[in-house]
Symmetry: C3
């Protein structure tokens, strides 16, 4: 295993842990049982990569050939479940804030890492010359798991309601794609992931908002 392979694998592991934890947190929030929590953790952790692999023609997707990612996601989901059991002793308000912070961090780290892992996977598959496809594979890997998580749990998807969510992923994918040609992928991946996490967290902290139109609920009903 070359140095770059080791770096990619380490990043995948960290991203899997982060996204599995975010999926488990959403599942617990929706009062799912331990098994539903694990399923949601696994879908969040491997969903983006699986969609990317199918779209790139890597079939069966890597996550199904190598059980380590799914098993890791199950283990993380169980750990989060156990930790949240313990946390019930905290007051409700503190639990709420803790939840929000943990969710933001886990989601930001997963988003950042899977974005650059996706760009790298596109290059490994020989699409290095097609910048549009690389940015697409990066973004779909980054946002795919969280989108599946939210749609399946029946909560409004982060990507549609949150400040600067997909923006952050696309910015990181563009940076990683561009830098990769100059500095090599290892440095480009760290830079890209860092930029995603930074934009995502700053946007949440300072409530950066993109423009939106408030439409009155009445008068535009879908009958």
């Amino acid at each position: 295993m070359s140095v770059q392979d080791s770096v990619v694998f380490a990043l995948e592991i960290i991203g899997t842990v982060a996204f599995a934890a975010s999926g488990a947190l959403v599942g617990i929030r929706k009062s799912m049982d331990i098994f539903g929590v694990c399923v949601l953790g696994v879908i969040t952790a491997v969903g983006g990569g699986a969609i990317r692999d199918v779209v790139m023609g890597v079939i069966p997707p890597n996550v199904f050939r190598d059980p380590v990612y799914a098993l890791l996601a199950v283990a993380v989901s169980c750990l989060v479940f156990a930790a949240m059991c313990f946390r019930r002793r905290l007051s409700d308000e503190r639990l709420g804030r803790l939840y929000e912070t943990a969710m933001l961090l886990m989601d930001a780290v997963g988003l950042g890492i899977f974005t650059v892992v996706g760009v790298n996977a596109g290059i490994q598959q020989g699409y290095g010359g097609n910048a549009f496809l690389l940015i697409f594979t990066g973004t779909v890997t980054g946002v795919g798991g969280g989108l599946l998580r939210d749609v399946m749990a029946g909560v409004p998807p982060y990507i549609f309601v949150r400040h600067i969510y997909a923006c952050a992923s696309i910015a990181g994918a563009v940076l990683c794609t561009a830098l990769g040609r100059v500095t090599g992928m290892t440095a480009a991946m760290f830079a890209g992931a860092a930029v995603v996490v930074l934009i995502r967290c700053l946007a949440a902290r300072y409530r950066w908002n993109l423009p939106r139109i408030r439409v009155e609920e009445s008068g535009a009903d879908r009958g």
Copy 2:
């Protein structure tokens, strides 16, 4: 580019514009920010074709190899967003009716065009002899984008609640498949798309309904 290729490309462009606009309208309706609106516009415009391509083994799907469709969908979404900003000056009720009409037209045109484009794509891939598969590729291309749009935005999918929605698409796909063997694909595509738009709009205008069973909410809860 032959005449038929030009016709197909022109239809794809019109269908992309129409479906991207419908996605953007739903996003605005759900108070998404400009970025969420663009994401939903792109998913609606390219979703049906991407599912069809994966199912037919065209991997990566065409929409990811050729950025023109995704970029066009982003441009259309931004335009719709700008136009709706301007329209806020209208009274709420007029906005509501405007929204309903625009949504119906854009969705009908996208449904019609993508249905016949899907049939044609199936023939291009060598499935011309399997009428069942052609009707399927046509229908999935037609209804796929709108279904993804509605599920992701958390609104009841048109295909399940609307008058004669999937019916219209299937009728167009059948007509296009049957006519294609007689008149050639160019005429068959125009006829098929026109039939879809016609059925869809007439059904909405005259509130054609298929039978449904009203079940009382009480007593059949899913605990």
Copy 3:
């Protein structure tokens, strides 16, 4: 057609009928029209197998090459619709209990049969040596259709809210995979499917629950 092929085909037919009926019941419950009911019946019946086939590289998926499954699902959906029209004469409470029981049975039978059909399909595709992948193809075939059904109909997915749902499928897939090496697939499939149906029904009857954490709704809002 060998004896085993006949058994697999018969199981597929029964599973298709059961899952199509469960999809039709959910559609009727959500007051969909006859066409929406059929679409949901078809998606439920063929969805899990289609996802499995795409992930295994069987493209186009079998269900699109052979129209018998989709046509059977349409026929079953229409029959269920007709039967439920008739049942309106029953009192609401009896209808509710009838609905719950029919839904449980259809879903359990579909879950059990498609789980073992999925394991068998994985072996047919030459993944017999990878137990992890076999259990995955079994489980995704079993739970996939029902998950799509629930997400598209906008109801909380069984897999996340119900007692021991995915558990039952995984247990059956593991048993089927393990037994298959000893007794041959025919016996292993019957045993695996029976175990799934048994666990699923017992869990519903005796309200077996896996642990879950009740989080207060206040204080942890997703703004």
